[in-house]
Symmetry: C2
Subunit: 306 residues, 2 copies
């Protein structure tokens, strides 16, 4: 099935206790598209870049079969830039710089060749921008997955709720689920959020894994215990790419298959954090990915006693 | 197999966002023994109480088949009392009162009828007191499980390490594992702790579940998603009782069976937090417990794709 991804393509500069990068390729759209490319032949990316974005990064995306026709290049502006520093406890990070640049007036255009997309991933962006993409598609995709963040809950809740109503799967983290619902119990938070529109809810819990809530059922996958997390940047976006990539590949929206999609997403994220930026995500193969999914299964499986 | 449990039997007064108790029965020994009583016919408790401890509480323990021969009653002192208040975020609690009373000079005596115990659970106590129990047994038990806390790491690390070297299974939480090992990665922390003596390590992660590390293998069970946690008091001790109870019942120390023990422990803990104090733990039946273990299995199980 065809898959379209909307999200930032950016420069990142990252510092963690393990080291420091220069300006490298980043952005939700980049991580999500790369991750999905291990499942779908030709993920279609919608994004915006500036004059300073190097051709070699676009070539790298092409090598992964990613269509960049939907990436607009602005001739007189710079690419979105984010810089951050992670603490010893990598759940905490300081943003050192956010230069919106081209992203400030991102008005996504849907190329004709992307129309009729079956699966749509809305990376974290202004809720109205996410909505514009849905409205600019001639045909509603079979499945729309949406990522968002607490910033929009604080600054434009009504706009956000309007977009949430239009999607099938919402992906947020545990704190965001609590904030959006006003409930501190995740189970209650999930039921409340599911009343806001989406049929399925994924709650990301970082190093503690991810949960899928759907039709009164719950699935939980822990994160894979990893010796050292080098750089958590992009883990959530990588998760989203693996999740929707698996669904687009299999075209099966049963709860059973959604569980697998959550595990594939988690497996992809477990690779991303092992090196800086997209370094791991650029050089995986399908065998390694499958092997890691088996590890997820072994990690949690026990035999019921007689 | 026979099971002996060493731990406090106490009065608790608990306040959570859901309510407030008077002085009720509490203590690690109480929770652990009650929990284990659903697996083992006659758990043997070693503890100490004061003149003010009511007979009806002892009767309640007897009703669960718990032997109280090893509970010493001090005629002129009061029972250990703890009072605490949980915040909205129940991972945070303030201790309002700690009156050691009889616990201050607890020097555990092992009744003759407890000698030759096959399984031994050392609840959180002074490390030297825990060690005394091991040394007062004529025969080393088949399995010794030890709980402890960060307080002993801060105040008497050498003493603690001496006791840790003597046990088979150490049960601590994630923060304690990091502190004890000096590693912030749980995987590295676990390998380091396993070099300190124990063959198996259980890391409790509260609402995020529990992990078992043993022989280079890792097992992870999430906590059951619960609508409302009413009172987390005793959850860890309940876990320990279910864990060692299952092992003593089955007398099988394979990794496969230890995984089941972790799940039974988690299942028991999931009951405890649903009401105040030992209210849930007093009135369970084996069918309910098994049903809950099935829920744990369903929560994490996914079918590998072809």
């Amino acid at each position: 099935m065809s898959l379209t991804i909307v999200g930032s393509v950016a420069f990142d500069a990252i510092e963690t206790p393990y080291g420091k990068t220069g300006k490298i390729i980043g952005g939700a759209g980049t991580y999500t598209a790369l991750s999905s490319s291990y499942f779908v032949d030709n993920p279609q990316l919608i994004s915006i870049i500036g004059y300073d974005f190097p051709e070699e990064y676009l070539s790298m995306l092409h090598k992964h079969g990613i269509s960049t026709e939907g990436i607009e290049r602005v001739a007189d502006k710079k690419t979105f830039f984010w810089s951050g520093k992670y603490h010893e406890d990598m759940n905490i990070r300081d943003t050192l710089a956010t230069e919106l640049n081209v992203l400030g007036d991102f008005d996504p255009k849907v190329p004709e060749s992307y129309q009729n997309t079956d699966y749509l991933m809305l990376g974290n962006l202004l809720p109205s921008v996410q909505r514009n993409v849905i409205e600019r598609l001639h045909k509603r995709p079979k499945l729309i997955v949406m990522d968002t963040m607490n910033f929009w809950m604080n600054t434009m809740l009504d706009e956000l709720l309007k977009t949430i109503r239009m999607v099938d799967v919402l992906v947020i983290n545990d704190e965001e689920a609590k904030q959006l619902s006003g409930h501190k119990s995740l189970v209650k938070a999930a039921s409340r959020v599911l009343k806001m529109g989406p049929k399925h809810l994924i709650i990301k819990k970082g190093e503690h894994g991810a949960m899928l809530f759907s039709g009164g059922k719950i699935f939980y996958t822990p994160a894979l215990p990893i010796e050292e997390v080098y750089d958590p940047t992009g883990a959530g976006d990588t998760f989203a790419g693996g999740f929707i990539g698996w669904l687009a590949k299999t075209d099966d929206l049963s709860f059973e298959n959604m569980k697998r999609a959550v595990v594939f997403g988690s497996a992809m994220a477990s690779f991303t954090v092992e090196k800086f930026g997209t370094e791991m995500l650029q050089y995986l193969d399908k065998k390694e990915i499958r092997k890691r999914v088996v590890q997820f299964s072994e990690l949690v499986t026990f035999e019921m006693p007689k």
